[in-house]
């Protein structure tokens, strides 16, 4: 249900859209009460397994950070008020609001206008205590016409509430890769909020393999017309794991583009994936184009994949808008075809899953990250389809 209220007597029609799909964004914690689990945006998340993490008790614990910053990247630290003053996308849920409120300031990485990074900025974040609660806020600001690749990799054990902001200047190019390689006992609830400048191009890749409960909310809005966003994701959910990706693309500017392609595989009892993709096309957003796709491959019995694409369209003057969602088992015809050429069943399954993910992985554009991720997917597959070296009879 969508309600649009046009504000009268404003030359350029400003509108506010109220919808259960995208709660009001706000830095004020009071706007984000502790969820009961009945809220639309919380109904899939296993709140009980968060063990009071959303109470927001203060914590001084930190993750271990190491960054490999190429020339042209400047790191600084800001207090919370100064961070918010950068016109960050506001938190959309309690975890991200807590992350901003309790982190005690933000780390800011700046890429100057017109800079072109030769090397990716690689940040490794790791935790070593599954009972420690950590709040973290990090901001990446890409100056106008700059070009950068950023890899943010999470490993280890922690209870982590995070807020990541991507401020992408006019005409800038950003390739952002987020890897959730957490240990099996980690809980990570995070928000990646992006603001995309005029004619800027942003590509994000999210890969979530580890963790006990991982819930990432990605939101995007545009600062001017002509911005392009591509979001790719992959997840591999094992027994007992909950991995949730929620996307919200706000087409608040004309002639903007967005494309979302998330793919997941599930295996083992109570493996649970959630993908919710919301796209809002505001009245002003004429000439936009958007497509969202989510595909799930269910490898064993006992898994659950929730997949919910939503489109809210306030104008028909657009180039295109669509979405698709598929969840299924192995395609028997694909397996038959491969096996009819002598490829054993294990190997055929491995090829199909590999093929399913490789389209996403090759978008990363950082060779060693691609290789590591392929290796990680291979390792996951060993669990379900046996030894991948079983080519010989």
């Amino acid at each position: 249900m969508t309600v649009t209220t046009a504000v009268p007597n404003v030359a350029e029609a400003v509108e506010t859209v109220a919808s259960h799909l995208h709660p009001v964004a706000s830095f004020d914690l009071a706007d984000h009460p502790i969820p009961s689990g009945r809220e639309e945006v919380w109904r899939f998340t296993p709140l009980r397994r968060l063990n009071g993490l959303l109470d927001g008790a203060p914590s001084a614990a930190h993750l271990n950070w190491s960054a490999n910053a190429p020339a042209g990247v400047i790191r600084s630290e800001l207090d919370t008020a100064a961070a918010i003053a950068l016109n960050l996308p506001a938190p959309v849920d309690r975890p991200s609001a807590l992350a901003v409120a309790q982190a005690g300031g933000a780390v800011l990485y700046d890429v100057a206008a017109n800079a072109e990074l030769d090397e990716p900025l690689v940040i490794e974040v790791s935790g070593d205590d599954p009972k420690a609660t950590v709040y973290g806020q990090v901001i990446f600001r890409i100056g106008a016409n700059a070009s950068a690749t950023i890899v943010l990799r999470h490993t280890g054990s922690v209870r982590y509430l995070s807020s990541v902001s991507l401020l992408v200047g006019d005409g800038a190019h950003l390739n952002f890769v987020g890897l959730q390689d957490w240990a099996a006992d980690t809980v990570h609830l995070g928000h990646i909020g992006m603001r995309i400048g005029r004619d800027a191009r942003v590509r994000t890749v999210a890969a979530s393999l580890g963790g006990d409960v991982v819930r990432l909310v990605e939101t995007a809005e545009y600062d001017g017309p002509g911005g392009e966003l591509e979001q790719f994701g992959l997840y591999f959910v094992d027994a007992g794991q909950h991995i949730e990706h929620r996307m919200f693309v706000d087409h608040n500017q004309p002639s903007t583009r967005s494309k979302v392609d998330y793919r997941g595989a599930l295996q083992g009892k109570d493996a649970h994936s959630v993908w919710v993709g919301d796209v809002l096309i505001r009245k002003i957003a004429e000439g936009i184009n958007t497509y969202e796709s989510n595909k799930n491959l269910v490898l064993t019995d006992g898994c659950r994949a929730d997949s919910v694409p939503n489109l809210e369209i306030e104008t028909g003057q657009i180039e295109g808008a669509g979405h698709s969602s598929t969840t299924g088992r192995f395609d028997d015809e694909q397996l038959f075809y491969l096996r009819s050429r002598g490829i054993p069943e294990d190997e055929a399954r491995r090829l199909v899953v590999h093929g399913f993910f490789v389209d996403i992985i090759r978008r990363i554009g950082v060779a060693d990250v691609e290789e590591r991720l392929l290796a990680a997917v291979e390792k996951e597959l060993e669990l379900v389809v046996g030894n991948p070296d079983s080519v010989t009879p």
Binding site: Q334, Y337, L338, S340, V358, D359, T392
Partner: protein
């Protein structure tokens, strides 16, 4: 000298209203060095014959046997049948996104021969096989059959036939949907395959057109799940003139 022997083959398929018998006692022997054409009207069970020999899970062999050099195929898995020397060129080759033609071919060759092909010669062999069927080198890097035209898919099947070099090939309506140039290229590929004289071909087709390029040693008319007439290449010429009507009517009378 190899032999593919199909004896009294009965095959069912599961339908909404229960199992339905499609093949009703097929008898056929294909010796290496021979090309057998199976011709019949739509819905006669020609493709069912192809798929059930290859082991498609949709079809159940209820009685009879299929033996390749004395080895019973019907108890083998799909990939074991391929290892025994069987190849099925499909009417609608399946798209497998993200699996490159090169990777697929190398994996198949490795599985069939039990060892990985030599990298240097293999790449040359793959490119040569693709080139022979008119597919340029870029196809090796593309996802298997994904976005290929109908003709390109058929050419790719024939390239596989050449590279994987089975003992027996079943070609399921490989000619359907091909323009005249593609038909000629595909036929030449099949003729190269049979040239050594020690391979057998079961060519399933609806039309006589492909038989202008591939000369069959035997022609079998297939109606209502069984072979109703057999002869040499001249039988195909007669079908071209008279069509299948006579055989369809006769089968109805028998039934």
């Amino acid at each position: 000298m190899s032999e593919l022997v199909i004896s009294n083959l009965h095959v069912e398929v599961e339908t909404e209203s229960g199992p339905k018998e499609i093949l009703k006692g097929v008898n056929l022997t294909v010796a290496s060095g021979e090309v057998h054409a199976i011709m019949g009207p739509n819905g006669s069970g020609k493709s069912t014959l192809a798929y059930s020999i290859a082991g498609h899970p949709k079809y159940t062999i209820t009685s009879g046997s299929v033996k390749l050099d004395g080895v019973e195929l019907s108890t083998l898995s799909v990939d074991q049948r391929a290892k025994a020397g069987l190849f099925l060129a499909m009417q609608y080759p399946i798209e497998v996104p993200g699996v490159s033609v090169a990777n697929f071919l190398r994996t198949a060759k490795t599985a069939l021969s039990g060892e990985a092909p030599k990298v240097r010669t293999w790449v040359k062999d793959v490119n040569a096989a693709l080139e022979k069927v008119g597919l340029d080198g870029t196809f090796a890097a593309r996802s298997l059959n994904e976005g290929f035209s109908g003709g390109e898919k058929k050419r790719n099947e024939i390239a596989q036939l050449e590279l994987l070099a089975p003992k027996f090939a079943i070609l399921d309506e490989t000619d359907s949907g091909l323009d005249i140039d593609a038909l000629r290229i595909v036929s030449e590929g099949v003729n190269r395959f049979t040239a050594p004289g020690d391979r057998g071909v079961l060519l399933i087709t609806h039309y006589t057109r492909i038989l202008n390029y591939i000369k069959p040693d035997f022609v079998h008319v297939f109606v209502d799940g069984r072979i109703v007439e057999e002869g040499g290449a001249e039988l195909a010429d007669q079908l071209e003139i008279d069509g299948y009507d006579k055989f369809v009517k006769a089968a109805k009378v028998d039934a």
